[in-house]
Amino acid sequence: MYEGPVQDLIDELGALPGVGPKSAQRIAFHLLATDAADINRLITALQQVAKGVRFCEICGNVAADTTCRICGDARRDPLLVCVVEEPKDVLAIERTREFKGRYHVLGGALDPLSGVGPDQLRIKELLGRIGRDEITEVIIATDPNTEGEATATYLVRMLRDFPGLSVTRLASGLPMGGDLEFADELTLGRAFTGRRAV
């Protein structure tokens, strides 16, 4: 145990996800040795986040303004909407540079154990968007786990009555650049079920 503020700092850092007691200690002593200017930048960043992060009014992604960069970009295809769980999923898909449409961030997945139902997710906003804007395809890109799959099923049920709207789900299967032998049984099994004619 260290004395006073240093231990307080270590305790606070250690409470963050992915940071164990050893890493917390390392970060704390790194901060002690850092310039005051750098520390102030960190403090300002934290304060700004604490004051309230803004979320895009359209898609729910984190934004610097009332709408996010993607929703404000006229070059993006307004007919396509990709539904994801978290803002970090938007980043992941953006890195592919394959998708030219827009996003809708749900803010999680159906998770009754944690008390998350459809009302806690931005599903109403999604339905509103589809009713209001001209959208032809919704791509469901929730996580391929129990909760993500349940959310996908729920969305399909809600979306199937919109005329002329096609609803698709991301394919699941083998990772590229990997060896077949290293794939786990579940993924390989899925890849078999979802095989396509060539």
Partner: protein
Amino acid sequence: MYVRHLQVTDFRSWELADLPLHPGPTVLLGRNGQGKTNLVEALGYAATLSSHRVASDAPLIRRGAQRAVVRTAIVQDGREVTVELEITSGKANRALLNRGAVPRTRDVAGILRTVLFAPEDLALVRGDPGERRSFLDGLLALRAPRFAGIRSDYERVLKQRSALLKTARAAKSNLSTLEVWDGHLAAQGAALLAGRIELSAALAPHVAAAYAGVAPESVPIDIRYRSSLGEQVPESTDVTELEQALLEGIARVRDQELERGVSLIGPHRDDLELLLGEGPAKGYASHGESWSFALALRLGAYELLRGEGSEPVLILDDVFAELDRRRRGKLAEVATAAEQVIVTAAVGEDVPAELDGDRFHVSNGMVTADASA
């Protein structure tokens, strides 16, 4: 297949144990509390990555030690494979296959295949249905590893759905998503159910034959899979049909489920019925009959696996003391036919003479080969 070498470090009571093994029978002799069972438990752990005695890994590590290590050298079809498992308390375990690290520990599960019969197995006959479901699911995963994934997915869906039912009862809301969870419960449940029904049917003749072997004078036995769907369960093991039947079953008990806040239909409410003659074994079977039934379930599983590919290693922990002379002889007949069988006993006289092979004495934390054998 057979285990050529077993070495454990800081496992249970053992600081170090080194056991060279051969095909055929091996007998571990020693007074109670000397660590015989700990050695066969290590073998079972190397096969299934779980202990047959405890649910958590912490008790497996010797008191005062940081981690336990189980090393096995397994020979299959003339090729030798080494599997090394490092069990660390409170941290992820590590596995090495032929001295190389594997990405996931469970990749080494099932390389060694064992069928282990231990005194705890009496709970298969006398215990709750959960014991028998675990027995079936464990055997399913041995035959087709994908069932391990199906079962854990099913349990996850079940937890979520039960949580929803509980809150729905209180708040009368969120019911819009219940049908979504119904669908997933039925889909995963049907896959599990199909596997279990098929397995029970394949296992039944082997278990009946094994029982007739160890208890020839007793009434015949049978096993039957009993689904929570009752009579509505389709005859086939077609997953789509079962899924439909589960969905219909769930719809029938909707009000009851909402009232009680639990999931009432699905493989988690099923049982493997054990029949002794015309009636149920539970509550009616004598101690000897229960014991023989439990043994027959394991031996049946052994015969089933043996008929389907590589022969598993048979492990009989402290079983001969419970059997009379005639049954001992019958069991010895089965055991001597096995490619490798490992037997533990407190006294040498309990072990039938037919099982002559390697003998080891286990005492004071030492394993010594029996010179007289």
